[in-house]
């Protein structure tokens, strides 16, 4: 176990390594069918193609399973833990509950991949006290980069493949996950525009985003979502002592990106991933932003927090 301290032990969080679609079905179908036969709640969050493969093979039994397209809810990985929280809260009193979640797939942007890998680690913290919850995370060894596959050992105590179960030699302990220091955010990919948020309201943010040179890629509804997310973050996270919150915006390859710096620090590594949403505090601001944006990146130090919001056209 890497990192001293508590071991992930409350719930079973396991990587399931498979090689292509046929192997995926071969490995997962018996587990799902067994759980259905035992009357256990099952939620499968994988892509739509795999959902259809499994549904066809399960036949009538598929009606006893919950299905969610992970490419939707998991586009922003911070939305996945609330989904599992809801599932465990509503069905965890029935003994074992079983989930399949595939948050990492080929083609994810570097930023989304980093957040998805962080999500995998945070699952161990989020469900530390959910001993009846078994979560299997499929990883396609045929299409994923070897470095991505290596990372599964940091976040999963156990790895499964065709040869059976193997204990991870390098899974992070819970204290190490909680104390994690994220890699710094990269430099903006395009020309930036700035707005000092001290004294500037949502109207000023809205005017800035309405400038075609700033966020012209976004239609009105998505600009409004972005404005709402910014207002939620500034309103609920507050400002860091002595800081002047600053907004920077630029257009990335596939999204408009807004970065807000100078926000109050966030100490809870699971902030923004609660379900139901908390009534106040930085956690509520982050939760709202997570629902509105395609990707949210949080970096917090002792002094201040920086948040990046990605919104795609």
């Amino acid at each position: 176990m890497a990192g001293n301290g508590r071991a992930p032990g409350g719930f079973r969080h396991q990587a399931l390594l498979y090689a292509g679609a046929d192997d995926f079905v071969a490995q997962t179908l018996p587990i799902i069918a067994g759980a259905v036969a035992a009357g256990e709640p099952v939620l499968v969050a994988v892509d739509q193609t795999k959902i259809e493969l499994l549904r066809r093979r399960l036949g009538e039994g598929s009606r006893a399973v919950g299905w969610t397209d992970i490419r939707g809810i998991g586009g922003n990985p911070a939305r996945i833990i609330p989904m599992w929280r809801q599932f465990v809260a509503q069905h965890g009193d029935r003994g074992r509950v079983l989930g399949f979640g595939e948050p990492i797939w080929p083609g994810r942007s570097p930023a989304a991949l980093a957040e998805a890998q962080r999500h995998e680690e945070l699952l161990n913290l989020a469900f530390e006290h959910a001993p009846g919850f078994t979560l299997l995370c499929p990883y396609d060894t045929e299409s994923l980069d070897g470095r991505v596959l290596d990372q599964t050992q940091r976040s999963h105590p156990t790895l499964f493949d065709q040869s059976g179960a193997h204990a991870s030699p390098s899974c992070l302990g819970l204290d190490a996950i909680a104390a994690w220091s994220a890699p710094p955010l990269g430099a903006p990919a395009g020309e930036t525009r700035e707005l000092t948020l001290a004294g500037a309201g949502a109207e000023a943010v809205g005017r800035l985003l309405a400038d075609p040179a700033v966020a012209g890629a976004l239609e009105g509804a998505r600009r409004a979502d972005l404005t709402t997310a910014i207002a939620a973050l500034v309103g609920f996270m507050g400002r860091a002592p002595g800081a002047r919150p600053l907004l920077r915006v630029w257009q990335d390859v596939s999204a408009v990106v807004v970065e807000i710096s100078g926000l109050g620090p966030v100490r809870d590594p699971l902030a923004g991933r609660e379900w139901p949403a908390p009534p106040a505090g930085p956690e509520r601001g982050l939760w709202l932003a997570n629902q509105l944006c395609d990707l949210v990146q949080l970096r917090s130090s002792r002094g201040e927090a920086v948040v990046r919001l990605h919104v795609s056209p």
Partner: protein, 74 residues
């Protein structure tokens, strides 16, 4: 789909999975409450959130009340 109908990321408009429906119901309750409380100048878009809230309330009533749709976990 009109601009007013623009979905949020990952929003499964036609979902028949009750957990999904309850999730999105709570999302739009939170959004409408926040925008109203914060008195943001986003009246046009509040209506969009409110319309979507009504959609998910209706969907919830269909699935939970009439026993329609996905039978998962029942």
């Amino acid at each position: 789909m009109t601009v007013a109908d623009r979905l949020l990321p990952g929003e499964p408009f036609d979902s028949d999975f009750l957990d999904d429906v309850e999730h999105w119901l709570s999302v739009y309750e939170e959004l409408t409450n926040f925008v109203r409380e914060a008195e943001l100048d986003l009246v046009r878009w509040v209506q969009r959130y409110e319309q979507r809230l009504v959609h998910w309330q209706r969907r919830h009533d269909e699935l939970a009340g009439a026993g329609m749709g996905c039978v998962a976990f029942r």
